[in-house]
């Protein structure tokens, strides 16, 4: 394992993982309680609650952080040259922000 990842990414990866363990469980239980795919009305009515909207935004943000930080940690093990590393980091930032923006727009599109 590479040690260049530093203390903070290491600690945050564990803490975000603990948060996601609970978050993903809640997400799974709310969506697989009924049989079949969720209806638009069901999702839209849940998203009228600020609590659920905040839950999804926080879950998405932390999930993106955890996933992309994980990819970054894996990439460090390949000992790639500096310019590649810089480019890859920038790409991960752009993908992360783009995915979060897409999620934000999706959550905002459900109208009750």
């Amino acid at each position: 394992m590479n040690t260049r990842t530093g203390l903070w990414p290491w600690l945050l990866q564990r803490l975000s993982g603990l948060f996601l363990s609970a978050g993903v469980l809640i997400h799974f239980l709310t969506l697989h309680g009924s049989s079949g795919p969720p209806s638009y009305a069901e999702v839209a009515s849940r998203l009228t609650s600020p609590g659920w909207v905040s839950f999804y935004l926080i879950l998405l943000a932390i999930l993106i952080y955890h996933g992309l930080n994980g990819l970054w940690a894996i990439s460090l093990d390949f000992n790639t040259p500096g310019p590649f590393r810089k480019g890859f980091k920038l790409t991960l930032y752009l993908i992360g922000m783009g995915t979060f923006l897409a999620g934000l727009m999706i959550l905002n599109s459900f109208k009750p």
């Binding site: 079949g36 994980g70 727009m105 599109s109």
Partner: protein
Amino acid sequence: MGIFGKIINDILWNLNTSISSFTLHRITGIALVLFLFLHVWTLSAVFQGVEGFEKAVSKFNNPLGHAMEYTLFLAVTFHLLNGLRITLVEFLALAPQQERLLWASLVILGIMGLYGVILIF
């Protein structure tokens, strides 16, 4: 031999429970990131209104879709349990118990796998 070949060789020559769980953790991790993009892509059908959304989510309501859901369920459960094990070992200095914890997490994975069969199919 490329770097991927070297890594695969390293894994095969040192095959043990630690390296297997380490490798599986990374494979499931990459797969779950890819799934997140698929998930956001599927849900973006909401931009086409109520019908577009319901058509998109019902695409997975068939045997192949359920098999994919079950694979996802197993990948998430493995990654979650193994991550929890890593965190416990590192935070509580349980390194001497790490292998026992791995077997415990695999037993829980097995039980969850059976539960998932009932839940998803």
